[in-house]
Symmetry: C2
Subunit: 205 residues, 2 copies
């Protein structure tokens, strides 16, 4: 039985697209993306979900208490029977209470080789700005389980990407996406989905 996957997004959804493409190409045999939730109503990721025939929902983050927002997320995830949550460019912080309800069931991708350039304050272009400022020759991406420490959970997969002469944060960000994120995230999704499916088969769940 396939593991039901919910993907949380906030923006353009290129990592979501990588997951949808992998699924369409047979690269996610142990899982099924059943739900996409965006924290912003105008996220293009919602269109990507609809185009792929996946249920798309909005849980607005802005202008409301965190607990109310998370209660809506939980209700949406439960409705679709989601067993594995993937954060794919999801810009909201989840509370420890929320995270504790999905132990080793929330996966995140971070655009650096953790423990470099991670933790509080390191997101989006800032990660690549910091890497260029330090002058590293290699950066990359990391897929990890989410726990209560920012970017502190168990590491699942990492891939290195070369920094090149003349890179700007935006150029480097794009290369890290193309050469690492879009490959790692579907691979990690399949890895965890398979392990959950096996646990169910073995009767542990």
């Amino acid at each position: 039985m396939k593991t039901k996957i919910g993907v949380l997004v906030s923006g353009g959804g290129t990592n979501l697209q990588a997951l949808l493409d992998a699924q369409a190409a047979g690269g996610l045999p142990s899982g099924e993306i059943v739900l996409v939730i965006s924290s912003r109503p105008d996220a293009y990721a919602l269109t990507r979900a609809e185009l792929a025939g996946v249920r798309a929902a909005v849980a607005v983050r802005k202008g409301r208490p965190q607990a109310e927002f998370e209660a809506e997320l939980l209700a949406l995830l439960a409705e679709s029977g989601v067993e594995l949550v993937i954060l794919a460019g999801f810009l909201s912080i989840l509370s420890a209470d929320f995270i504790r309800q999905f132990p080793n069931r929330i996966v995140n991708i971070h655009p650096s080789l953790i423990p470099a350039f991670c933790g509080e304050g390191f997101y989006g272009l800032r990660v690549h700005e910091a890497a260029l400022l330090r002058g590293v020759k290699l950066t990359g991406a990391t897929v990890h389980f989410v726990n209560e420490i920012p970017d502190g959970g168990k590491i699942l997969l990492q891939k290195a990407v070369a920094v090149e002469e003349g890179d700007t944060p935006a150029i480097l960000q794009r290369r890290v996406m193309e050469q690492a994120e879009w490959l790692l995230l579907p691979a990690a999704a399949e890895m965890v989905a398979k392990s959950i499916a096996q646990e169910k088969e073995n009767g542990y769940l």
Copy 2:
């Protein structure tokens, strides 16, 4: 005119051997290793230097003031006309005063992908212990210029190495040496030696 290189060591000298082998194989055309100094009199690195026909000297660190030790280092380096200092498993900390005398002329190799697992307290097996403890899937090595911040100088070269199931710190250390350190250090030495040689040719020095 070749750049005169001095190599500072404290132990077995496998990184020194990588430099000597590269030189013998024509991989260091812009530099010449003219001196090896060990901070310990029993370092096998001294034997490696002698076997390669390179001047080997001892400047004992233990049991004497830092300033006296560094004065001896400086005298030895000056005697041999050293223009580029390479730290190859050199376990003593150099003072800011010493470092300021060789701006962008001291190169160090660190067995991780800086900025991961570096800075004070991270040396030798401890680096690999920390990497295994954090559960990274990729580690590696970094060659960098030495400045007054521990492992804080400009990065010259980096290479990633995979962590494998069942790795111990010692196994991982050996793999990082074989797959990264022994390749990077000669390459960086040639890169910097060439740039110094060119500056001399251009009359900047």
